[in-house]
Amino acid sequence: MQYSEKVMDHFNNPRNVGVIDDADGVGEVGNPVCGDMMKISIKVDDDSISDVMFQTLGCGAAIATSSIVTEMAKGMTLEQAVAISKKQVADELDGLPPAKMHCSILATDGLKAAVDDYLNKNGREPISGGLAHDDPNFDPHAIEPEEVCDVEG
């Protein structure tokens, strides 16, 4: 399994780490029991994301996808932000190992949750269409068919 240079860059120098104190919306997805968890806070200005910060506990891919998604989202409309797909996140990072594709769901779900939280706080309908993490059939362990299992000796 190999991470792209771009993944490693975002992992080693994650952008927008932290919490926005007076955030307009906050999303929190994942679970420490599963090994990864993300919290994302956004400022919204005229239905566009004007600022975004994240905190993530997780593997290299979880941190890198969190970081890139904050860069991608900044300046987007809410509609655009919730439409970011896991494939777009992976592409933006020059690809992810098949076994790590699920990590991009953490990031896109986190962003969706933050947007819905903002809308909810403002008495508006959610627009994310639901989170993968809320689906009872969602299996964060599900991996792409091409996955190669690496092992400790």
Partner: protein, 397 residues
Amino acid sequence: MSDNRFVYFDYAATTPVDPRVLDAMTPYFTELFGNANSLYGVGRQAFNALEDARSRVARSIGAAEPREIIFTSGGTESDNAAIIGITRAIAPKGGHVIVSAFEHHAILGPAHLLEKDGYDVTYLRPRADGVVHVEDLQSALREDTVLVSVMHANNELGTIQPIAELAAAAHASGALMHTDAAQSVGQIPFNVVELGIDAATFSSHKIYGPKGVGVLYLRRGVRFQPQINGGGQEFKRRSGTQNVGGAIGFATALELMLEDQSEEIARLTGLREKFEKGVISALENTEVSAKADNRLPNIAHMLIKGVEGESMLLQLDAKGVAVSTGSACSSGSLEPSHVLLSIGCPQELAHGSLRASFGRFTTEEDIDYFLEVFPPIVNRLRAMSPVYDKMFGSSAK
């Protein structure tokens, strides 16, 4: 603190070939290249070299006869062959097998296969100390138990298992005993007769020998169904043109391990303790994973709470330090180590395990360097976590 520094703390994953081992092997690639099964000169030379390697391995582990040594392609093959080859030979129609729950996948894999084929398999849990207790084995043994397999030292925790007692219990119940000694042989005293085992697994690349070479020890008289068939090499127990150079590499590597074993035990235990104490005193919420005192000299396995293993590993890599983490299976960092779970470690802690394993070329300075670079990495990752303070911070107390 130089960024060019390379500190290898993953000797339990694999080791470099010792130059003396490579020297011993080298002639067998070129001049002494014969097929050990050929009758003419260059074949006889190969045969003699192979049989010499076999005798030396037998002597090194206290085997009664050279023919109890079967050369294989590695620890994984030896494990598979032991579990399936012995069980099927003794109980072709089904029976009961006991393996510990924290065996390497090279044991668990074939155990699952036997289960699929109608055998009963018990996955015996070690206790929280990281040890399989004899009383627990005794309760698990049944009249139809064919084989018990418990590893000599666990490859993650480093805990040493009471193989002699376990073997005695297995034998008392009429079962045979196999032990996977891939992590222990060479590191600590290992004698098949003193342990009273019927079969054992060894892997060359864990002891400064070449990759792709292993040994299956099969006590004379143990029934066995070969898992790779063909020309009938290795006393009809493992077919395939033998890797003569590899066999010599393994024999040489093992002898070198034994040469200074007691000094190395003392030296590595010292390094390990320095490492463990250093981490615990530098970082809150860290501890040695398994509480048993009887552990390999060269493996430190720790829980670094509130941090995910892979991210720790990659950050260390950026500093030139190679370690492993029980949760680093790329089938997802979401899958915590079955070893930690087997001793009752909660999942959220199991994700943050760190294995540092030391060896022949590890120095005090390596440990010092690690203790310099590691705490800032953990602190940074914990600071980046949305839950660290909540779960482990002083406010959580």
